[in-house]
């Protein structure tokens, strides 16, 4: 039986051939389907749709009301960028959570992680596949939020005026970086007890604050701005805001041309993913050597 400790096929001595790309694709495809079932099959479709929409819409409305309570010209000027940032940040929470939470869920609740670990294609493609369901559900929610914002809240989104080229150049590499964060956390959770879910929420909360999701980065104190400027999500959101709304939202990034922004997002996205996967593989080895792959912490 082929035993893999990470992304690269590492068959046990004397076992069968290396894992083929076809097998990896099959694992990816099946885990995507499994992820969708786990996400959705606990409720009928209508209830699931309401559930999927309730959280993001409520989260957006909290911000809408906060802006309306205060009012004023600055509120009107900042509102579209805030609304777009908040909607797109859903990808960050969902993908990070989607990739990493599976480790805890499959290890502690369903007690399946050990079987995934010893399966042919291993955990990397399995976790990638599981993130697909989160991506799809989140995409539907984001689209609904954006349409809602354009239709009822005066967010100036017009399909004809969107810079689709910039959007296409920024969106995918940013997602790679976010999935990278997910693998980073998944690696941590491999060697953590059940309460490790707090790590995911903490990182997500920190990114929400430091990436200038719902306010311009310029509002933060200088040292927090500096931290925000090394986070890839900051550039990703700025790029997408420029693509969807035009203009610069964060004055602290005004010196970045569109092409420089694209390059920054691409490089940071790929580097984040690469480093995270290396880290994840290392943690998988540590977990295996400490006998943690099938631990039940009941914690």
């Amino acid at each position: 039986m082929a035993v893999e400790t990470g992304t690269t096929p590492a068959p046990a001595a004397g076992s069968g051939p290396a894992v083929s790309w076809r097998e990896r694709w099959q694992t990816f495809r099946m885990s995507a389907w499994l992820g969708w079932q786990v996400e959705s099959n606990w409720a009928d479709p209508l209830l699931f749709a309401i559930y999927s929409m309730a959280k993001p819409i409520a989260g957006a409305l909290i911000l809408v009301i906060m802006y309306r309570v205060v009012g004023g010209e600055s509120a009107q000027a900042l509102f579209p960028g805030m609304y777009i940032g908040n909607a797109l940040f859903m990808y960050v929470g969902a993908l990070m959570f989607g990739v990493s939470w599976v480790v805890l869920e499959d290890r502690e609740f369903f007690q399946l992680l050990k079987y995934i670990y010893i399966s042919t294609a291993g955990m990397f493609w399995y976790l990638c596949g599981r993130a697909v369901a989160k991506f799809l559900v989140t995409t539907v929610a984001v689209v609904i939020l954006l349409v809602f914002g354009a239709a009822f809240l005066g967010v100036p989104l017009h399909l004809g005026q969107i810079n689709w080229g910039l959007f296409a150049a920024v969106f995918p590499p940013g997602l790679l970086g976010i999935v990278g964060f997910g693998f980073l956390l998944a690696g941590v959770l491999l060697i953590s007890a059940r309460h490790g879910s707090g790590y995911v929420e903490s990182v997500s909360g920190a990114l929400y604050l430091l990436s200038g999701v719902v306010f311009p980065l310029d509002v933060l104190p200088g040292w927090l701005q500096a931290v925000g400027k090394v986070i890839p999500v900051t550039y990703w959101l700025e790029g997408l805001r420029r693509a969807l709304l035009g203009g610069t939202y964060t004055q602290a990034l005004a010196g970045f041309s569109d092409s420089r922004l694209v390059l920054t997002v691409a490089v940071t996205g790929v580097v984040t993913l690469a480093v995270s996967v290396l880290f994840f593989n290392r943690m998988a080895d540590v977990a295996r050597s400490r006998g943690l792959i099938d631990q039940l912490t009941e914690h």
Partner: protein
Amino acid sequence: MATARQPAPEAAAAGPQLGAGGAAAAAAPEPLRIDLPELTLWQRLLLNLRAARARAYVRVVATGRELSWLAFEVAMPILSAAAYVYIYEALGAPPRYTGFVLLGGAMTAYWMNVLWAMASQFYWEKQSGLLETYFLAPASRVALLLGMASGGIFMSTSRAASTLIAGSLIFGVRYEVVSWPLAILAFVLTLSALYCLGMLFSSLFLMYGREAWHMSNALQEPVYLASGFYFPVRALGFWTALGASVIPLTLGLDAMRQLMFGAPDIAFLPVGWELLGLTVLTVVYFVLALRALAAMEHLAKREGRLTLKWQ
């Protein structure tokens, strides 16, 4: 506890006969019956208080034993609150809004505790294989829930207080307390009503499998919105806020903001009315929880859901 487990004299006498072999085996099979002795009111009260104390003990001890919660459950609400504080700062809102946000952020500890450690608790116990033990124990389920609630309040208060103190220092929040006794009364009544609601949810969630997890998840942001965790609930309009008052935190937060920040202009209702509303909610939710617990326990047994894992 041991008293309740002791067999009645007649059942004890039946034991040797059943074990004697021949004659007993030849006789018509009679179901083995072990009668538990009737407990006096005092014994029952003592038993249930012990059960409540035991259930609370776990949470009280856990509060001090695992200090990693400091990182997650104090830092996290501060991070969330900080994001909202900076929004108000970006918009040029009056400084007291920072206090409103921080108070709401601190109170999220209680709402999260009610959702994840009261409402969903029986689901977690089911997954851990402990639920059947609870139902076999001679103590009342209400005693267990009260223990959960008191332990949860202790745990959440430590988190909320840490958040409030740390956040106040970081953001320089200024309080203008109108009346300490009334503010404390509003806080106590809010928690009473909230945890009675938690007991009610716990009963209803008893039937759930994975739905419990999803329901708790779905009740976070919508309740933050409806109860005005990060803005004065009056902004929702009178009737919407009135509807949202079924969640005790709506009235509780509004009353506490009025009393701690001297902000009558943002009031949804006068404090007196809000305290009365919280008292009514406490009684109503407690009575409903008792009824729901009995009904849902019966239903869960009939449908065989008490021991159903991984559903």
